[in-house]
Symmetry: C2
Subunit: 205 residues, 2 copies
């Protein structure tokens, strides 16, 4: 069995404990002959996937009553992985969700690190500076890179800290932002754990 | 005496308690014959202003040792207006600064409301939704507009609340964001108050 997470730019395959990344543009689903369970936000790839009987869309196994109709499928998957806790998925957006006793409590969406930095540059060329990941977020800043980093990171990190524990962090920027938390579980395979749990539940029904 | 705040898109004149806005593109400094004290971030207008002897750049009166070299002149001006408090200037960026006993404590820069909304759309067309200014920021969201609004606003508002009181809010979005604070002084003329104080101090020296 192969698990597959399809975004707009990349396709992540997970099989036998290993994750392999492909470009979404050149990815050909016909190259895989095993059963593939997938989640996808990629509209143009979705059409091709439906032509292959060994590709199974996990969207059909979701209990949508637990979540909300426009919620990203990848967000739902990381929530499915966690019975109790706060889940941060730090990618192009940073999604923050809370699960308690297996029940979805709601969440919010912040900009991803790159999206935020690019947005600062659009506000003013004077703000075209990289974040300083060594900054002390507890202090008010007295230079521009620190002012941007504290401005974007401190409110968000402090808000997430107040949502409670345990805190799970996943996504491409998981390691980078995890350093700002007092205690966090970095798990880059959280989405695949959620997918596995959903398949097991689906099979049980 | 006329006070003038020159941005990249607009020129705000303040005289006898009244503020008048002009487009920066078509603004001609030669039309004013009184003494004008100005702050400007507009590089192309700056060249013309220096040709007029009745235009006085307030940059020269600033004690830069109190602030930092790359700090925006408009940010310094709103700080100059406040002896003790937290100052939020909600424009294309949202700047947050703290003054205690007339001493600058530092600050940070967040994205402005429009910049943040535009950045969300760039992350994904699925996030092309207006903020919901009626949302309860204390609650986790269960729909996309609320998830964006809570994601952007709740961390920022809560961070600002924790910086202490009194809280002054100025800038184009001052009224819009003030509703989220338990207690705030909205003052759209804060920059001109800072400029006036600086001129009075400068004259005294």
């Amino acid at each position: 069995m192969i698990l597959c997470d399809i975004g707009n730019t990349s396709v992540d395959l997970f099989s036998e404990g290993k994750c392999t990344k492909f470009s979404a543009e050149s990815f050909d689903p016909a190259t895989l002959h095993d059963d593939v369970y997938y989640v996808s936000v990629n509209v143009s790839l979705n059409k091709h996937l439906r032509e292959h009987t060994n590709w199974h869309d996990l969207r059909e196994l979701i209990d949508w009553g637990k979540y909300y109709p426009t919620m990203g499928i990848d967000r739902i998957m990381v929530c499915e992985a966690v019975e109790d806790g706060v889940i941060v998925d730090a990618g192009s957006a940073i999604t923050v969700d809370v699960m308690r006793g297996g029940v979805y409590q709601g969440g919010f969406i912040s900009l991803g690190l790159r999206a935020a930095q690019e947005a600062y540059v659009r506000v003013s060329p004077a703000l075209d500076m990289s974040f300083n990941f060594e900054v002390d977020l507890a202090k008010m800043a007295k230079n521009t890179p620190d002012a941007l980093t504290v401005g974007f990171m401190a409110p968000l990190i402090e808000k997430i800290e107040r949502l409670g524990k345990p805190l799970y962090i996943t996504g491409g920027d998981a390691r980078l932002i995890s350093r700002f938390f007092s205690e966090a579980i970095v798990d880059e395979e959280l989405i695949f754990k959620g997918m596995t749990k959903l398949i097991e539940k689906g099979v049980k029904c």
